[in-house]
Amino acid sequence: MSLSVDIRHQFPGLDLNVAFEAPTGVTALFGPSGCGKSTTVNAIAGLMRPDSGRIVLDGRALYDSDRRIDLPPQARRIGCVFQDARLFPHMTVAANLRYPARFRKGAARDFDRIVEMLALGPLLNRRPSTLSGGERQRTAIGRALLSDPQLLIMDEPLAALDDARKEEIMPWLERLRDEVQLPILYVSHSVAEVLRLATTVVLMQKGRVAHSGPLTQILADPELAPQLGAREAGALITGTVEAREADGMVRVATSAGPLLLADLDAQPGQMLRLRILAHEIILSREAPVGLSALNVLPATVTAVSDGLVQLKLGDQKALAQVTPRSVEVLGLTPGTPCFAVIKSVAMARS
């Protein structure tokens, strides 16, 4: 299953020209407000007709200006979760969830499973106006899934929620990503959401795609990482929990070597998504001795740009924030072997 988009649209204030592919998994459409993210997903959902281009979902043309194809939203099989939930106010939660059943019979038998997955059981007889923001979004997600979609679009689903509600809904989204075999297009301007959920990132700027690719690749790219925000540059490394040591530290195996983490509630065998921020890495030409830092991994410099040094750590890429003076003093050029002293490691997901 995959989505392929290549559209152009002009209206006052924005000249949209975007092309990208979204494979299975979560593809984050990321960029500042007004860069054309919502216009793009509305075009994909069939709620707005672009001037020209092509939108193909799993080999099926949804829109093709050359072939004069423009399927109405009803025929596109795209589930949408909007920022404002858009639940029908005159219906109960149950009636909202059953609304698509008449037209999309395929998903009707999943009713119980989806109600259970999103813990909607206690809400079924309530009306949308009596729900909290998080409950509303969970209902909207359930309703979209029950429309038997081939693609799920989530347009800033958390933007209207406060931090506590965001934390409440995030685990459901992670579960969705891991349990539902659907491409998910996730529109967001929040770096935290993208880091936690996305597998693929499409960076948008002023109506154009600045870059698109796997999240791990973008995070470790010294040119692109600053677009996510300077503080967020770094690496996303996956590892497997090996064992809990006698002093409580947890040993995690990664392709670059073992990492020791404190305060981690994880079981052996569990896969983890770990974040190492660029300003948490110190570089050393020699193997350092007498340091309080526990995690020192051998690395190779692969690129240097503007205060950021890209490293190869095992089979993964990472970024280190280093001043231009240090780059010069240490002689950090592509190919230089060095040691990465990692001050701290954060979890990107539980």
Partner: protein, 232 residues
């Protein structure tokens, strides 16, 4: 007629009330689907002649009622172009209660359309879009999302239309005259009584009835609309 309440009004007055209610109910109920359609067209569609349709709908509000009544007479009268066509089918408007209903429907139409149009404009089209992404055909979206959401506006429009129909006088008396038992509605009866010596007493009683009917229609629809809103 042993109840003192019934004796309060004479048989001719009761007849006028009964006829007025009948004329207004028929006018309101039969014109409502058309009013909903026209309100939808004006609120949601942009087409050439939009302004003309809007103007025509509002015309009875601005024209002197006697002009509307006269236009109805020369169009729907037995010699009129439309009246002549309908007569073989047994549909006769001139000097019948059906004519009073037609006049009432036309005179109340702008008010009904206006109220319902405001309802359509208040519905968030994003809800209808959401329904479309869930696979619902447009007619189904209209019936299950749009109509229930504008129900209070339809209720308000119908009530307003009913009250206006109950009070319609100028067009009605011009089109179907003032025949007791056939076309004499409540306002026509009041008018006739005021022309007679000693008719002020019964006229005043009919005036009170008019006030009570109009007030209860408005209060009743407000109550229903509020109950609908509370269910949200």
């Amino acid at each position: 007629m042993s109840l003192p309440f019934l004796d309060w009004l004479g048989p001719q007055e009761w007849q006028a009330i009964r006829l007025s209610v009948q004329v207004s109910l028929v006018a309101t109920i039969l014109s409502l689907p058309l009013a909903i359609a026209v309100a939808w067209l004006l609120a949601r569609r942009n087409f050439p002649g939009h302004g003309l349709v809007s103007g025509l709908v509002h015309l009875p509000l601005i024209l002197p009622p006697v002009v509307t009544g006269y236009l109805l007479l020369i169009t729907f009268g037995t010699k009129g172009p439309v009246g002549r066509l309908l007569e073989p089918f047994g549909i006769i408007f001139a000097f019948r209660w059906t004519g009073a209903a037609l006049a009432a429907a036309i005179m109340s139409f702008p008010l009904t359309v206006r109220a319902i149009r405001l309802g359509f404009e208040a519905v968030d089209p994003k809800l209808e879009q959401a329904a479309a992404t869930l696979g619902a055909p447009r007619i189904w979206i209209f019936l299950t999302v749009t109509l229930p959401l504008i129900f209070p506006a339809i209720l308000a429009g119908a009530t307003l239309g009913f009250a206006k129909a109950m009070g319609e006088f100028g067009a009605t008396i011009t089109f179907v005259s003032n025949i007791p038992g056939k076309t004499q509605t409540l306002p026509s009866a009041i008018y006739a009584l005021l022309e007679q010596p000693g008719g002020e007493g019964p006229a005043m009683r009919l005036v009170l009835v008019s006030i009570v009917v109009a007030l209860s229609a408005v209060i009743g629809s407000e109550y229903l609309a509020r109950r609908m809103a509370a269910r949200r």
